[in-house]
């Protein structure tokens, strides 16, 4: 379990992380979300013992990271931002190098190496120099480096950066699988990634936590109103008639062209599902419904709402 308490990190006068507190349970996948420069990387660097905090404490399994730095680093696998690697080493040599510095018994080297090459899909590049690899492969070598000793805690700074859509799906599935037994903290600014992989989301802005919860909680917590998108074919003045329906609060006409197709946004109170009523109402009026869709407020909107206002 990771416990972060009142963490503050200053670079000179600039507060990169400002009094942040949170906990991560074992077996939880936590997503750090935030715009560039929000303090995601800094927080991770403190947790991985790369740099100390200005104030505040981090405890992992009850051990303070400053007093038990070496023990804690053994438990952590860390992929820094942009996956820094040695360009003049080849993939296998690099992984052997990392194995040598992790406390892995020599008899397990071959097995671990084989597994990780399989998991990260590095089979085709094992004897190439890292400098010759594409960004996607480098990112995978970085991931292999972080996971090769089967750590209890994985800290991944933008793990899917530079990967192609297929690889992104693979890596996400991998993280999800790992997250069943292991604690994972990952940072990203790709929102679907959070929805796809994380049990819990922390949205950070300007060094402060602005939201904390499961993706579903965040979504429901911020939905102000239900919204229905409607496409209707009719010659009548659809929008005015719809406005007269009891529960409709607002009707917004997106477009209405000459061939009678009208596109509308209908808003009503949260928790009310108007679709049935609209359908029946349309049937009564002999309007033809071409499309009707209930729009769910996405994490993306919440993210913008929380991080753009300041």
């Amino acid at each position: 379990m990771i416990k972060v308490k009142n963490l503050t990190k200053k670079y000179g006068e600039l507060k990169a992380v400002d009094n942040v507190s949170f906990e991560v349970k074992t077996g939880e996948v936590l997503g750090f979300l935030g715009p560039n420069g929000a303090g995601k990387t800094t927080t991770m660097r403190v947790i991985t013992c790369y740099m100390p905090s200005t104030s505040g404490t981090v405890e992992i399994d009850g051990q303070n990271i400053i007093d038990h730095s070496l023990d804690i680093r053994k438990k952590i696998g860390y992929l820094p931002e942009n996956a820094p690697l040695y360009p003049d080493m080849n993939v296998v040599d690099y992984l052997y190098f990392i194995l040598g510095l992790r406390e892995v018994s020599k008899t397990l080297y071959q097995k671990r190496l084989k597994e990780i090459i399989e998991i990260c899909g590095l089979g085709s590049v094992t004897h190439k120099d890292i400098g010759e690899l594409s960004k996607g492969f480098r990112q995978r070598v970085g991931l292999a480096q972080a996971m090769i000793h089967q750590p209890e805690i994985l800290i991944l700074d933008e793990p899917t950066l530079g990967l192609d859509p297929n690889q992104i799906v693979e890596i996400r599935n991998l993280i999800k699988d790992l997250g069943k037994e292991k604690t994972v903290i990952l940072s990203t600014h790709i929102l679907p990634e959070v929805e796809a992989t994380c049990d819990r989301v922390l949205i950070i802005n300007e060094g402060k936590i602005v939201a904390d919860g499961t993706p579903e909680q965040l979504q429901s917590g911020f939905e102000g109103k239900e919204r229905i998108y409607l496409e209707i074919k009719s010659q009548e003045d659809v929008s005015n008639k719809l406005k007269n329906l009891p529960e409709v609060e607002q009707v917004e006409v997106i477009s209405s062209d000459d061939d009678q197709i009208k596109k509308l946004n209908i808003e009503c109170k949260k928790g009310v599902d108007l679709r049935e009523k609209i359908f029946n109402f349309s049937v009564e009026n002999k309007w033809i419904i071409l499309e009707m869709k209930r729009e769910v407020k996405r994490l993306e909107d919440i993210f913008r709402l929380l991080t753009q206002s300041n």
Binding site: R45, T48, C49, Y50, M51, P52, S53, T54, L70, D71, R73, K74, I76, Y78, P80, E81, N82, P84, L85, Y86, P87, D88, M89, D93, F97, I98, G100, L101, R102, E103, Q145
Partner: protein, 237 residues
């Protein structure tokens, strides 16, 4: 502990030979030493290596910081330091491993010069005792410069800055006993003791004196300690 140092040392040593760096350094060093050795060998007409041992510290002045400048500065520039220091190893293990790798490269360079006296051993009576002392001094002087170079590499992420800084410190250490007449009395003898060239000239003559050995070991220890502290400064609040 020793395992980690060895792993880092192996990796660094290999990476010298993965790039042209090691080959250039070895070739240039041998060429320079060869030239200084043979240029007056037959004129002086004495079977000894005084010329070589006298000039080698000056060659090291350039070579040692060139060997070490990459070691930490490049890790900082590329960001790989972030992976390295978050592994469960101590900063001192990183510094020692890297120092050892540089030491091995330098030792290879020095040992390759053994062929000069060997090929000429038939032409005169070499005093192998004094040659051994000279080589010991050469390697110790090299270590001393390497530790300075490693320290300056740990201060910056720019290799050129690391090289120049290392060179300046080494240059100062070499020059200290050349400016003694400005500092009379006790200060003068302190400066003389601190100067590398004072101690290396003793060894170059083949005199192995424990005072000189202690001097070398303490300089190496001091600068490696500084390098470790420079690495640890990251963790200062």
């Amino acid at each position: 502990m020793a395992q980690n140092i060895w792993t880092i040392c192996k990796k660094e040593f290999k990476s010298y030979f993965n790039s042209p760096a090691a080959y250039i350094i070895l070739t240039l060093f041998l060429l320079l030493c060869g030239w200084f050795f043979f240029s007056d060998f037959f004129i002086v007409n004495q079977a000894n290596l005084r010329g070589l041992f006298g000039i080698a510290p000056f060659i090291f002045m350039f070579f040692a910081p060139a060997i070490t400048m990459r070691l930490i500065a490049e890790e900082k520039r590329a960001g790989t330091i972030e992976v390295l220091v978050t592994l469960p190893i101590k900063d001192s293990e990183i510094i020692l491993g890297k120092f050892l790798a540089a030491f091995f490269l330098l030792s290879i360079a020095v040992l390759l010069t053994v062929f000069y006296p060997l090929t000429l051993s038939g032409s005169g009576n070499f005093d192998f005792g004094s040659i051994f002392g000279g080589y010991l001094g050469l390697i110790l002087t090299g270590c001393c410069f390497l530790s300075v170079g490693l320290f300056s590499s740990s201060l910056t992420q720019n290799q050129i800055v690391a090289f120049i800084l290392g060179f300046v410190i080494i240059f100062t250490l070499m020059l200290l006993d050349k400016v003694l007449f400005f500092f009379p009395g006790i200060l003068g003898s302190v400066f003389q003791y601190l100067s590398v060239s004072y101690h290396s000239s003793n060894l170059a003559r083949g005199v192995i004196d424990s005072r000189d050995l202690i001097y070398y070991f303490s300089i190496v220890f001091f600068f490696l300690l500084l390098a470790v502290k420079a690495m640890e400064s990251r963790r200062w609040r």
